[in-house]
Every structure is written in C-alpha cells, then in structure tokens.
Symmetry: C2
Subunit: 248 residues, 2 copies
C-alpha cells in the first residue's frame, strides 16, 4: 500500500505537531486503520512534503508529528482554467482532472448557455484537495467563486494568454497555437489560461467578443463534438505537453 498523503492547513517543520480534525482522524483510523507510529506524508502547499508519524489517535482527533522533509515545495505551472459549470458529475470531474493535470487556479464562469448557476465552491475545494493528495501534487489548486464571463474578461491581466476552445472549427490546433511560448512567466514565457464553454457552446456574440480580444487565441479540439470534461482534459494535456511541466 502506498504511504497515505494528507493535505493540512498548518505549518510543517521539524518536530511540528499537527492536530487533525474529526474527518481526517476518522479517515486515518477507520478507513486506513493506522495506529500510533504509522507513517503519513503531509503537505500544506507552502512547506514541501514531510514524513510524519501518527502520535495519539482518538475518536475526536489525532496528532501527527513531523519527522523530515521528503520533497521541497514546488508550485504547479501558472495555468488558469476557466470553465462553465455543467451538471454536477461533470463539474466534479472537471475539478478532479484539472487537479491531476496540474492547473494552478480554477475559475468557474457563467456564460449565456451555462445550465448550472449554483456552484458549491466548498464542495469543489474538497474534491480538489482529495485529488491533490492522490496525484502527489504539493499544492492544491485555488478555486474562485463562480463569476460571469464578461466580468472575468473585463479585469483580465493582459500578460496572460487565453486559449479558447472554439467549436466553430476554423481555429488552429493547440500545439501550433502554443508555438513560441516558452512556458510560464517564471521560466521566461507567458502565463496561460484555458476557457472551455458549456455543453451548448457559446452564443454567437460571445464568440465574436472572445475572438476580438487581443489576449485570446481560439483553438480547435478536433472534428468531433466533445463533452465539456473531455475537452478540459484533452486541452490541458496538450498545454502541459507543449508549455507546462510535461516537457522533457
């Protein structure tokens, strides 16, 4: 069995004691059946990964003691995903997969044809934490509150390029659209964002508005109709392979 990994929201340092709340303590004792002395890996998004030892465990909580650092902190590449929430299972899948694929920030956006207006950000954050634990990330993606697309574009940082999955079909594929962009700003390139629309696509005037923005590059995801979650995963894989941390 691989060593369990847990995200905690407390500082990690040599001999630091970490108090787990009810839910994580129950997971350690009831699901994983760990007792005092067992080994667990911890990360908090800032201090790298640490090996820790289970101290006391009880019904109401558990204490872990940090032993040694196992990996230095790194952040996922500065990649922002804008996605229109779809049905609950699809939205959950988008958050889980974007976490596996190393997105740093998620922004649910409301478009004209967005069907799901109520986005439970706290639930999505819990999904992102669990996916980060399993995918062995050292950070958890930040998830912003759902916001109308126009508002997000209105306050855009123009140094970030936005790839927009355009179903209309005359756009280039992702690799040529990324040519010449040597990675995130911290590696000398340009930070990226990806926009995936709702199941019904964008309204014609939303498309025109997007294509008129200087920081937007439309891209095509092939000749077939993709579900929103498939489009997210496919485009993110191409971005990580050509711009992000799947290279070399």
């Amino acid at each position: 069995m691989p060593v369990p990994r847990l995200f905690v929201a407390t500082p990690l340092a040599p001999a630091a004691e970490i108090e787990l709340g009810d839910a994580q303590a129950r997971y350690l004792t009831s699901v994983l059946r760990l007792g005092p002395g067992a080994r667990v890996l911890l990360f908090n998004g800032a201090d790298g990964e640490w090996s820790a030892e289970v101290g006391s465990v009880g019904k109401r909580g558990a204490t872990l003691v940090c032993r040694e650092a196992t990996r230095p902190q790194i952040l996922s590449p500065d990649l922002l995903l804008l996605f229109a929430p779809v049905k609950r299972a699809g939205t959950d899948l988008i958050v889980e997969k974007a976490t596996e694929l190393g997105v740093r920030t998620l922004q649910p956006v409301l478009t004209r044809r967005t069907q799901s207006e109520s986005v439970r950000t706290d639930r999505l954050r819990a999904i992102a934490i669990e996916a980060a634990e399993q995918t062995e990330r050292l950070d958890v993606p930040e998830i912003f509150e759902a916001t109308p697309l126009g508002k997000v574009l209105g306050r855009w940082d123009a140094t970030r390029r936005l790839l927009f999955a355009d179903e209309a079909g005359d756009a280039r594929s992702v690799p040529p659209a990324l040519a010449g962009n040597g990675g995130p700003a911290e590696a000398g390139g340009t930070n990226m964002a990806l926009l995936i629309g709702p199941e019904g696509g964008f309204e014609p005037d939303e498309r025109r508005m997007l294509r008129a923005l200087a920081f937007v590059t439309p891209v095509s995801l092939g000749p077939r109709i993709l579900r929103a979650e498939t489009a997210v995963i496919a485009a993110l894989a191409l971005i990580q392979a050509h711009w992000g941390d799947w290279q070399g």
Copy 2:
C-alpha cells in the same frame, strides 16, 4: 435542439425503410417526443450519415424512411487502445472518452495487477454506440473481448507502433515520441496503439518485457500520478493532435 442521431445496424440508401427496435423507438417517442414527420440523422458505420423521417411510431417499434445522404462515410484513424479494466465507472468513462477521441478499436487487456476480471463487453458496446451518436462520429469503435496482455502482444502486427504509458518516469513525452510518424498507414505513416495500465501500474517484469519489444515506445505523461481514465484521455488527445485527425 440538435437533430437526434441514431446508430442503426441496417443498410442506408435512398428511400430505405428502417425498423427500429423497442429501445430506440421508446427513446424517440418517450424521451425525444418525436412523431411522424420528425427528422432524425442515421449512421451505420458503412454508408455515411443520412437524414431520415419518422414514419410510423408505436409502442413496439418505429419506422424511419431515409431521405438523403448528409455526410459521406469516413472511418476514424487506425488507432487501437489497449486498456486494463478498472472499476466499473472508470471503465465506462474510458470507453465513452475513447469514442469521443476517435479511437477505432478497443482491446481490454488483463495484466497482473488488473483488479476487474469481468468485463461486460456488451455493456461497453452500448456505451460506445451512445457516445458515437453524441460525438457525431460516423463509425462505432469495435470492442474486443478482454484478453491477457501477453496473448495480445504475442500476436501483434509489428507494423503497428505501441505507445506504452510508463509511470517509471524516464520516458519521453508523447510529441517527441510521435515525431516523424506522418499519420495512419492509409496516409503514408504508421498505425498506432496506446497501452494504459491498471491503477496499480505494471509489475516490474511486465515493464521490462514491454520495453524489450521492438514495436513498443514508452512515453511519459508528466510528473503527477494520473488515474487510468485521465491517462487515456490525455494520451489520446496528444496522439490525435500529432498523428491523427486533430491536425490542421
């Protein structure tokens, strides 16, 4: 509402009459609420796509009449997916997404660490048909019966190159591994296959055997641990963008 698309297993030609069985007739009448005269698109994997008109509808069946061809038949690129079945929801997702991403053939393979030995191929075929209808494919991927990996490799057509997602981490990314391969054999290149292992990965001697085969190229899917279905979608997107029908 987009025009409904149905896969049928009968010839399509001008004025051909198509008898739908119970399930499809119920779908047309109860879910889509279509009556006589309504328009439906049909495909059968051989005769292209046809516009058809609902003739009679009843509780036990429905009749459609072919009007005119709307798209000529094309096949998806000759891409074979070998995948180790995972839990049911994951396997369902793999079949649905491989269909959206244009895989021509699916071969479930049993590896040492494959957890699910019973693969209901008939159920997977139904999922592939529904996904082909929605993704606007003109063919439905063929799904073979689950077979031990060694047997599949033992009867391999050595003109087909197999990309093997190797979690060990020293392999190249997919785009350089595909460099120089100009598409499927019918376009002058080399037909492709992709192998994605089970959640627990391959046993060390399975890995050694795979890497020793002349037709196998190991590839890396980045620094994080991906679930099997995420790996399938990500690798297929890269293959279609660099070898298949997402280009230009």
